[in-house]
């Protein structure tokens, strides 16, 4: 009992400490990347306090945190008090709770506890290693996070907040479906809902799911961006139109909980994308793929996983400045008309391949992984272009007043000189 509890407590301390530091410094990294892309400098002033040493602005997260914490704390008079306090707590707590099932490495070999405690099995680098339903748990916590947004928007008693809350609840619920469909293909091929088993399966075959199920990866990545409400899917907060959306009325420590919660969502999404589709801790010829590990391999696995996650977060940050925000109807039609059917195609493809394709490839003398990768990319390209020709996600910019009638007059005579 005691070693297990101690084991869990140490992991929780490591994960929470790491996450909070990471969130603080990722904010700094995001500000740097944003500045560099916009040909600016970014934060470069805050260094050692009370001296002139600047350290490239590495003290900025600390200064930001201190500023947030010491802000005057008052409650606006027009808010619903109870829910106003509850909302940021819910989003922050649920964003942290997700990390109970997300592995931050592979296994640690052997015994680092005293022998008298009787722990001899290798230590699994995830807080709740025995939970069998890891993937569904991630979903459950993600759906709890919606409360924070909806309640925050409603309790603020402010029309911008309310609009943000409405938008986000619709968006998050809509994109949970393609997210689930993207995962199902992976779960089908790994045969388990546990994230460590999914990584193990990719390591053993050596073919990451991104190569053999690219369609699933695309669907899942898009849905993960939308679930993390990052640009180009950040309609819930949309600074330019909703002045911050559901957290317009928040400030100080409560706003910090919201912002850190959002960062945690982004980190979660990056972890999930890497674990499900980019092989987790596996890298060819570097980390090995067996169940038993040496210390070198264990440390290499931790490094490989976290480097991949940082790379994915970097992609999130660059993506923010790459594409414009979707309009609301485009967002919804992308979810329901494009991503949902594509996810279904992916499941069908994976199921058919599991049942027949592998045998056929082996009979034909092809290595099954390569055959599956070729098929997967063919399916991706075909589905993408069929989907594009049927339901253009971005090209259709006409105002649409009702879902059924084309509101733009198609037979309109365009006068001379129009559009110049």
């Amino acid at each position: 009992m005691l070693p297990i509890a101690l084991d869990a407590l140490i992991k929780i301390a490591v994960v929470i400490g790491g996450l909070m530091t990471a969130a603080a410094y990722l904010v700094l990294a995001e500000r740097w990347i944003a500045a560099w892309i916009q040909d600016r400098e970014g934060p470069n002033r805050v260094g050692v306090p009370l001296t002139k040493i600047r350290l490239f602005g590495l003290g900025q997260p600390l200064a930001d945190g201190v500023k947030f914490i010491f802000k005057a704390e008052y409650t606006p008079g027009h808010v619903d008090k109870g829910l106003y306090f509850l909302a940021p707590v819910m989003i922050f707590a649920s964003a942290l709770a997700v990390f109970a099932v997300i592995p931050f490495g592979g296994l640690l070999p052997g015994n680092i506890f005293p022998a008298s405690w009787g722990v001899s099995e290798p230590i699994n680098l995830v807080i709740a290693p025995r939970l069998d339903v890891g993937m569904i748990y991630v979903f459950a916590m993600g759906s709890i996070a919606i409360y924070g947004v909806v309640l925050g928007g409603w309790a603020s008693n402010n029309k911008y907040s309310f609009l943000g809350g409405l938008r986000s609840s619709a968006q998050l619920i809509a994109y949970e479906l393609p997210m689930g469909l993207g995962i199902l293909g992976v779960v089908l091929s790994a045969g388990s809902l546990r994230l460590d088993t999914i990584m193990q399966q990719q390591a053993q075959t050596g073919a990451w799911n991104a190569f053999v199920q690219p369609l699933g990866m695309v669907v899942f990545c898009v849905a993960a961006f939308a679930e993390a409400t990052r640009l180009p899917f950040d309609l819930p907060e949309a600074e330019q139109e909703l002045i911050g959306g559901y957290h317009t009325e928040y400030f100080g420590i409560k706003l910090m909980m919201y912002l850190v919660g959002e960062y945690l969502h982004m980190i979660t999404a990056a972890f999930l994308i890497v674990i499900l589709f980019f092989g987790g801790w596996h890298f060819w010829g570097l980390t090995g793929s067996s169940d038993t590990v040496t210390w070198t391999q264990a440390i290499l696995r931790i490094i490989v996983l976290n480097v991949k996650v940082l790379g994915m977060i970097f992609f999130f940050m660059v993506a923010r400045w790459s594409w414009a925000r979707f309009r609301y109807d485009q967002l919804m039609s992308l979810a329901w008309l494009v991503m949902l059917p594509m996810g279904m195609v992916n499941i069908a493809y994976v199921a058919v391949w599991q049942e027949y394709g592998e045998q056929l490839a082996t009979q034909a003398g092809l290595p099954p992984q390569i055959a599956m990768a070729v098929c997967g990319w063919a399916v991706l390209v075909a589905t993408w272009f069929v989907g594009a020709s049927m339901a253009p996600p971005a090209g259709d910019n006409r105002p649409r007043r009702t879902p059924l009638e084309p509101s733009f007059p198609m037979n309109l005579e365009i006068p001379e000189g129009a559009g110049r």
Partner: protein, 265 residues
């Protein structure tokens, strides 16, 4: 009737009276009295908690159970439907926690995903959009004590009977407990404590569950699927009808489809 059963009966009566007073129709003083009565009833139940078994697991169980019960009481006693929904969410989380303690991981997580994550959020959505103060008749009707109390009583009665039956079945099969001969309530407590104290280390439940669902309970799964599909078709039909009607009225009242184009240019 032995003393412990008497205390439980008193607790039940107190709880019923307290809930009656707590329902959001009386004045503040009556509701305060109701709150006191419910707390007293919870005390009566708490006094009967058997003090055996692993204190940690038992403590977890009772804490989560308390949260669940308090959430349930608050769900029916708050005036604002939004708060009712939030308290209901807490009740659901407590239920999920109890499932988790009993080793039913999948049930626990899917309770949260389905009820707290999907249904309740949609519910909140509707409440916030329509009538947050709860003055509409269809919100009030569920608080009619004459309708609500008998329904609740019937539901609780059925549940209690089912649980009692399963406990007595377990008591008949389980002969290892020496406390069986002493008194029925002690046996009940001992078995309940036993069930709590030894949390079953779950075998790979998901695969087992899937196998069961698609072999033994295949008919049920298919029936549920057909039901959901019918609901989906119905929803789609309703939405389509509304859309056609709206566009027709919009076309009749406004000057036609060119209006939208004018906004675009």
């Amino acid at each position: 009737m032995n003393p412990s059963q008497g205390v439980l009966a008193v607790g039940t009566v107190l709880a019923a009276a307290g809930l009656w007073l707590l329902l959001p129709r009386g004045n503040e003083r009556g509701r305060m009295l109701g709150g006191v009565l419910v707390i007293a009833a919870l005390g009566c139940y708490g006094a009967q908690i058997p003090a055996v078994g692993d204190w940690f697991a038992k403590g977890m169980f009772h804490a989560i159970a308390l949260v669940t019960v308090v959430g349930a009481v608050a769900t029916i006693s708050f005036r604002s439907p939004v708060y009712c929904a939030i308290w209901f969410g807490l009740t659901l989380s407590g239920t999920a926690g109890l499932f988790l303690l009993a080793g039913a991981e999948f049930l626990a997580i899917s309770t949260i995903v389905v009820y707290a994550g999907a249904i309740l959020v949609t519910f909140l959505f509707v409440l916030m959009l329509s009538e947050p103060e709860g003055y509409t008749t269809y919100d009030r009707r569920s608080w009619e004590a004459m309708i609500a109390a008998p329904t609740g009583a019937v539901l609780v009665g059925i549940l209690t009977m089912t649980i009692a039956a399963s406990i007595s079945m377990a008591a008949q099969t389980d002969t290892t407990h020496a406390s069986l001969e002493k008194s029925p309530s002690a046996a009940k407590n001992a078995i309940a404590a036993d069930a709590v104290a030894t949390p079953t280390v779950p075998p790979p439940t998901i695969s087992e569950l899937g196998a069961q669902l698609f072999t033994r309970y295949l008919i049920s799964v298919e029936a549920a699927g057909v039901l959901l599909f019918a609901a989906l078709v119905g929803a789609a039909a309703l939405v389509t009808q509304g859309g056609v009607g709206r566009s027709r009225t919009a076309a009749a009242t406004s000057s036609g489809p060119r209006e939208g184009a004018a906004h675009a240019s």
